[in-house]
């Protein structure tokens, strides 16, 4: 079998990455750009990059993912990609009529040194960008950071290009989510809506990559944050960044550029982290917590309490993206679970490990960045066996090899549906995640129970 190739002993590796627990920046940038209404992501590089990112996102969401490419050839890589970019913009506006083109770079265009601001200026001065249309860009070299960094960079690019301070503060609160599912974005909006506050969330991929089947193919589905919202973000009273790696850079830029203060929170997964979001919004907007949210919270706590005997003390190992991992660790701790391993291929900075240890205790093994890959995760899991694994689809090899139940969460998920529609964030998402965790644990107990202790009531 495939995973006979993973020995238990962790040997030091000099350079190699085996079975990555990350991918490259541009796919994150493409995803973030899909979260802006009538925005067309554009990949400035070879056409393979664009095809791969579209395929990856299509497999994950099972929805059409539209993006264009500069289609670099040998010539472009020698003489620069300016001509390709200018031609691309002409064609894009003529044929696809987006409001915004969000250009992200690739390792190729970064290394040949294409100067995107200069190219965009040239396009504007040559009238290749129609009136009322916009082109923004983010630098997303594939050899730095990961897909989460790419997401963060593209969100920051929208702030850079669009957010303006008019000098008149509004009462609005900006919500910036890290790289999460459209379902999670909906749930975060749900919380803010229930509280009745004036807010804008960007990016927002809900109703974009989880669109309905209505007999039509749409280049631009109805969802997405609007350019006007991002522009007005500069006058808001507060930005709440949900996730230090994916969301905070844009929030900080908004602070630098427009003096909008920032509150950095963990992704609201589980009771505590969602409480923190609700509390922050309550204070900032000066509103009470509505009964509806108290009810949702109470229901989550009720099930945590009802089923605590099945979660308390259970061990879990997880691999994925840093912001999601912080939220998941927080959730697991709410449920009394013990976290053994936390692995991410992204280099999240020193605060990440500190935060994980605050939540999970000093005993947790945290591995990040280079060589923190699925191969290493498998080795760690072999060394200390957890009751449960949480991570993306690629964990299924490890789960099968080790016969450990897997709860799929993160990117990518290629073999199950649900993530587009059922959130893990918020109280309701926490309940859905808890239901899945319990299902995995209890199914295993049932499967392994000797007949005499195979119980009807659990």
């Amino acid at each position: 079998m495939l995973l006979r190739h993973t020995p238990e002993a962790v040997a030091e590796r000099s350079a190699l990455t085996i079975n990555p627990a990350k991918t490259c920046q541009p796919v994150g940038a493409m995803y973030a750009a899909l979260g802006v209404h009538r925005c067309l992501p554009h990949s400035h590089g070879s056409q393979g990059c664009c095809a791969y990112h579209r395929s990856a996102l299509t497999r994950h969401y099972k929805d059409p993912i539209m993006a264009t490419t500069s289609s670099f050839t040998e010539g472009a890589s020698v003489f620069g990609g300016q001509a390709n970019m200018l031609e691309a913009l002409t064609n894009i506006f003529a044929l696809y009529d987006p409001e915004i083109v969000a250009v992200h770079t690739t390792c190729l265009s970064e290394t040949i040194g294409d100067d995107l601001p200069q190219i965009i200026n040239k396009a504007r001065s040559e009238d290749k960008i129609p009136k009322g249309k916009f082109v923004v860009h983010a630098n997303t070299p594939s050899y730095k950071g990961s897909h989460v960094t790419g997401y963060a960079n593209m969100v920051a690019a929208f702030v850079q290009y669009f957010s303006r301070s008019t000098g008149r503060r509004t009462g609005r609160i900006n919500l910036i989510p890290s790289f999460v599912e459209p379902s999670d974005m909906s749930e975060i909006k749900h919380i803010a809506s229930e509280m009745g506050i004036d807010f804008a969330m960007f990016p927002d991929t809900s109703d974009v990559v989880n669109g309905p089947m209505d007999g039509k193919f749409r280049m631009y589905p109805r969802g997405g944050a609007t350019r006007e919202q991002i522009e007005a973000a500069g006058d808001a009273r507060l930005t709440v960044a949900l996730g230090r790696v994916g969301a905070l850079p844009a929030a900080k830029l908004l602070d630098t550029k427009c003096k909008v203060p920032v509150e950095a929170l963990d992704l609201p997964i589980g009771v505590r982290a969602t409480d923190a979001l609700v509390e922050t919004l309550r204070k900032a907007a000066g509103v009470p917590v509505p009964d509806s949210l108290s009810l949702e919270r109470g229901q989550l706590v009720d099930v945590l309490c009802d089923m605590s005997q099945y979660t308390y003390g259970r061990t879990v190992s997880m691999v994925g993206d840093p912001d999601l991992l912080v939220g998941l660790v927080s959730f697991c701790r709410d449920a009394g679970m013990r976290v053994l391993h936390v692995v991410t291929g992204t280099n999240p900075g020193p605060k990440f490990e500190r935060r994980i240890k605050e939540l999970a205790g000093e005993g947790v093994t945290v591995r990040t960045g280079l060589q923190a890959d699925m191969f290493l995760f498998h080795q760690l899991v072999k060394g200390e066996r957890p009751d449960l694994i949480m991570g993306n689809t690629y964990c299924k090899y490890i789960a099968r090899d080790m016969d450990i139940p897997l709860v799929r969460v993160g990117f990518p998920i290629y073999d199950r549906v649900g993530h587009s529609y059922f959130p893990v964030t918020g109280y309701r998402g926490g309940l859905m995640l808890l239901e899945r965790v319990l299902g995995a644990i209890q199914d295993r107990i049932d499967r392994d129970a000797p007949e005499e202790s195979f119980e009807l009531v659990m």
Binding site: H5, P20, S71
Partner: protein
């Protein structure tokens, strides 16, 4: 016809209306939502199924991540090919060069996995920073005593087709390195089948029944040792001609192995392939076995296909696939199901391919090279297609429009090759086309006069 970019017009013809030939083989128009991939992608998909070789992607992490086990090329033995190995080039490597890292990675991997050979894929960035991959490979090969083969697959060096060629060139370096193992005079190589869902095994079994030895499959369920002696087979059978014709030509030129282009998709083409082989050998016993096989298998599958055909008769299909040869077979196979192909296109077809397509399709069929989703969706609407046959990026487009879909690419989970494959294809098309879910499609409901 629908609104099309000026630059794209020459790449689309409507049979019977446009008297001209089609333009193809050019780079995608910058700014289009091309469904095409790059040189690396082409090379990677072709070599990937060689299961006992090490496949190391030299570049930033993405190129390895996106090609990690995405194609269900089954192996009957080792599964080293399903692992994802990357040098994960970082900024400092881009500045100072990645050669040392590459050499260290190869050393570690070869020590750990003891592969029969190693392929090193160059990505865009490697071409730019100028790593001497050939030299590193030669050094490691000499040290480790296994072939370490550079694959010149920098993404920007052309289209996916150029990637096929790069793959063929790398694979060709293995060909002819074993001159000792005995090979039957009645022997063939299967080229251009990648054992998706076990298709190579079906075809191999046909040849076994005809008394013919299959020396190597390049590359489905492929093995380094088999490729090493493949030059001594009597005949090369090239399926998916776009990807492997170059290798077949090289083997003919250097080793004198003739080749035939075949397809194992559809009853007609599968039978033609088997007969072409028996004709080549001119052996009465082989011919008899081939005839028996075709008759037996056809008799076995025709009733099942007929049952599906009754529901499919008169429905219209759109086809958009990677290689044109597959499109030929699909047009014929769909016709066997009573369906008309009203739109047909490929990512990599040649002028002759499109010429042939135009011969086998009906008047009014749209023939398109390198289509994009917007064009496809408009052609589907304009021609009223009921089914789209395509790959991963086309599937949700079809579903959103409320029409049936059949994956004829990486993501097929059941074999579509050979006689039983045709039954599977008929079943899959039938299941999708007659799915009760379309009752809920608003477009269909509107067409029936409903309000939702």
């Amino acid at each position: 016809m629908v609104e099309i970019l000026k630059e794209r017009r020459a790449q689309i013809v409507e049979k019977g209306r446009d008297g001209r030939g089609i333009e193809c083989g050019k780079a995608s128009v910058a700014g289009s939502v091309s469904q095409r991939a790059c040189v690396f992608c082409g090379a990677r998909v072709v070599l990937y199924p060689i299961a006992d070789a090490l496949h190391l992607v030299h570049g930033p992490i993405g190129c390895a991540a996106y090609t990690w086990d995405i194609r269900g090329s089954l192996s009957s033995g080792p599964e080293l090919h399903r692992m994802s190995f990357s040098t994960d080039l970082r900024e400092e490597d881009v500045i100072y060069g990645g050669e040392r890292k590459l050499e260290a990675c190869l050393g570690e991997l070869i020590a750990r996995h003891r592969p029969k050979a190693a392929f090193v894929y160059s990505t865009c960035i490697v071409g730019l920073i100028g790593d001497d991959v050939d030299a590193v490979c030669a050094r490691v090969s000499a040290r480790e005593g296994i072939p370490v083969l550079p694959v010149r697959s920098e993404g920007f060096r052309g289209t996916k087709k150029d990637g096929y060629r790069a793959a063929c060139e790398a694979a060709f370096r293995l060909v002819g390195t074993d001159v000792l193992t005995p090979v039957s005079p009645l022997s063939v190589n299967i080229l251009g089948d990648f054992n998706l869902a076990g298709e190579t095994w079906i075809i191999k079994e046909y040849y076994r029944r005809m008394g013919i030895e299959v020396v190597s499959c390049i590359t489905g369920d492929g093995r380094v040792d088999e490729i090493a002696r493949s030059h001594r087979a009597a005949l090369n059978l090239v399926q998916c001609s776009g990807s492997m014709t170059h290798l077949a030509r090289e083997m003919e030129r250097v080793h004198g192995v003739p080749y035939r282009k075949v397809s194992y998709f559809g009853l007609e083409d599968t039978a033609d392939a088997l007969y072409a082989v028996s004709e080549f050998f001119g052996d009465p016993e082989v011919s008899r076995l081939a005839r028996e096989l075709v008759v037996e298998e056809t008799d076995r599958v025709l009733p099942a296909i007929g049952a599906f055909r009754r529901d499919l008769e008169g429905k219209r299909a759109a086809v958009y696939v990677g290689g044109a040869f597959k499109a030929f077979s699909l047009v014929k196979a769909l016709r066997l199901l009573g369906m008309d192909t009203v739109v047909v296109g490929s990512q990599t077809g040649s002028a002759e391919d499109y010429e042939y397509l135009s011969r086998i399709t009906d008047e009014g069929t749209i023939i398109v090279d390198d289509a994009n989703p917007l064009e496809l969706s408009r052609f589907i609407l304009e021609k009223g297609a009921d089914l789209l046959v395509g790959g991963v990026k086309e599937r949700p487009i079809a579903y959103k429009m409320g029409i049936a879909f059949c994956d004829h690419n990486h993501e097929r989970k059941i074999p579509l090759a050979g006689f039983e494959g045709m039954v599977n294809f008929a079943r899959e098309v039938h299941a999708s086309a007659t799915s009760p879910v379309w009752r809920f499609s608003p477009a269909r409901a509107r067409a029936r006069g409903g309000s939702l």
